[in-house]
């Protein structure tokens, strides 16, 4: 049962079409992440849900009520901004209290709500501080606290972690996931960081150029991207997308070759004919790299990323095609080395070379 429905929503700024017809159904208590590169329209969509941008056409329905013409404050939403948007001259307590005051709540009620939010977010010792006296993570928690106290129907997050350093971002991701479980709230979260999307979302909506490319659970999108764009956008390091040629077809099993890298993949639709050009997608973690010869095509390592548990080798095939291969962190590899690799069985993805759609 849809709790929030975005139906055929469009938005233009002058001649530029930021959103070109977006449909999303969001269930109650679902954590939906809008993911996409800069300029894909995800923040515009979030601002339209918030009522900060007008909806040119289409419908926004929250809890059964059409919200297109309802004022922001009456939509039952709270938003956490990328910049935190804390009122700089108000203390943490006053920041959280402001919306409640506007809503006409009496002081005892306000105090109860603030105390509860402060407890959940561990803000109790900070209540009388000004935002300038807080760290980035603390400010973020205050911004979330300000959203929580209003007990909205839907929480909106606009890239809330992008101003934090890597360690804090990871910590806040865990906090947000815990918060979602604890509050059992409906959340819509915008990010361009696919790690955030994968770790937080119940469902990811991948967007590009004002359109939805794919909607699904994180693992569904990771395991079965509907096109080469989604395949390349989800996963870190990004999926290797190679030009390949079909060498054999047997039922729905298609054998392809990309500069000596051969593999088989199952296709869902009609298989391409032998000799057809396709795009072969293989994630770095699905390539078995070896330092000995004869295991597959030769690859020259041009750079290495050692992350401890795993290492990423950025390599080049003889025709100049670049390929990223993941190794165990213990494996000894270095730029200048030559390696070979093979695709793990059943891990390859095939996309149309013309349309980019999954075959």
């Amino acid at each position: 049962m849809s709790y929030m429905k975005i139906d055929g929503v469009r938005k233009s700024f002058g001649r530029y079409e930021a959103l070109r017809g977006v449909d999303i159904d969001i269930a109650k208590r679902e954590f939906v992440v809008l993911l996409g590169p800069s300029g894909c329209g995800k923040s515009t969509l979030l601002r339209m849900i918030a009522g900060l941008e007008e909806i040119d056409s289409g419908d926004l329905i929250i809890d059964g009520q059409r919200m297109n013409d309802v004022k922001s404050a009456n939509r039952g939403i709270s938003m956490v901004f990328q910049s935190y948007a804390l009122y700089p001259h108000k203390t943490v307590r006053q920041n959280m209290e402001f919306g409640l005051k506007v809503a006409g709540l009496k002081k005892p009620e306000r105090d109860v709500k603030i105390a509860e939010a402060a407890r959940i977010l561990q803000l109790v010792p900070l209540l009388d501080r000004l935002p300038r006296d807080l760290s980035g993570g603390q400010r973020q928690r205050v911004a979330i606290g300000r959203a929580i106290v209003r007990e909205p129907k839907v929480f909106l997050f606009d890239e809330p972690l992008s101003n934090l350093d890597a360690a804090l971002r990871m910590q806040m991701r865990v906090e947000l996931a815990r918060l979602h479980r604890e509050l059992r709230a409906t959340m819509v979260y915008v990010t361009h960081d696919q790690v955030e999307a994968m770790t937080l979302a119940d469902r990811i909506v991948v967007m590009r150029d004002g359109l939805i490319e794919q909607t699904g659970s994180p693992l569904e999108i990771y395991r079965r991207p509907v096109n080469a764009f989604v395949a390349g956008f989800i996963g870190s390091p990004t999926m290797n997308l190679l030009e390949a040629r079909v060498t054999a077809v047997s039922g729905r099993t298609v054998r392809v070759d990309a500069m000596g890298l051969t593999t088989e993949a199952e296709v869902e639709g009609p298989p391409p004919p032998v000799g057809a050009r396709v795009t072969l997608g293989i994630r770095p973690e699905h390539l078995d790299g070896r330092t000995d010869a004869g295991h597959g095509p030769a690859l020259d390592i041009i750079a290495c990323e050692r992350l401890g548990g795993v290492s990423h080798a950025f390599t080049r095939l003889s025709d100049g095609t670049e390929l990223t291969v993941q190794f165990d962190g213990e494996q000894s590899i270095a730029p200048g080395d030559t390696i070979t690799c093979a695709v793990q069985p059943g891990r390859a993805h095939l996309f149309s070379a013309e349309t980019g759609l999954r075959l």
Binding site: A50, G51, L52, K71, S72, A73, N74, I77, S78, M79, F81, Q82, S83, A85, Y87, P88, H89, K90, F98, G99, V102, A103, R146, R150
Partner: protein, 299 residues
Amino acid sequence: MSRRFAISRTPGTSLHGWLWVAPTLVFLVVFVYGPALANVRYSLFSFSAMSTSMEFVGLANYARLLDDPIFLQGLANNALYALISVIFQVGVALTLAAVLEARIFPSFAANTFRSALFLPSILPVVVVGLIWQLLLAPAMGLVDQVLWEVGLGDWSRAWLGDPDTALLTVIMVSQWQWTGYIMALFMVAIRAIPRDLYEAMELEGASGPRIFWNLTVPGARETILIVTIITILGSLKVFDIVWVMTAGGPNHSSEVLGTLMYRAAFRDDVIGYSSTIATVIFFIALTIGVVQIKLQKDR
């Protein structure tokens, strides 16, 4: 850090620094601080601009000043000038700026309104004074004619010739000229307040006035403080518009310290007394300046 250390510790570098500021320093000493100090000294003498002799009278000029009802009237007029100016050039200008920045009006209307309000500030004060003299002329002036046309003929009067209205009229003309200018300054200050904060308040359901008091005013606090000080100082030093429109009359009703000082120096030829008025203005302005610096440091 090491650079600062080098500058403060090396005599040669220090001298070099002094040489850079010397031209400005010399200019200030010769044309600002020197004359200001000389003025304080002149206030202790009685003398004429036509004579080379100066008679030391100590604080007699100051005693005379305190007994001078016209000086006290001028001082009160300056205070009223400052009060009304602060109301308009801080209160009204800030409100107008907030309204225009709130994107209530279409951008064309807002731009037109802003330009119309700003325009008077680019006119010379003398021109403004003369224009308004014509507009306010009894019976013939546009203001009176409009009043008659709209059935408010009873309100018609010699705005600049009536002691009850002369000062207020001059003050209002001054507000007409400068409110739009100050409004433009406030618009810049408001634009510096992050848009997200306004959106956050909007999402929380705050009304326009609530947003104004809870965000715009604290956000533009620094500019409000500076503009208030500038407005008070300007009101204290006001001379030109009053001189052009009423010359302090009728019957000293619109007299301000500036016109009093000018008249004492260039009509009555009592330079010592005029310097005393100038010294009083100087010290009041200095006190306000110190308060401003203190308030800014406290922030």
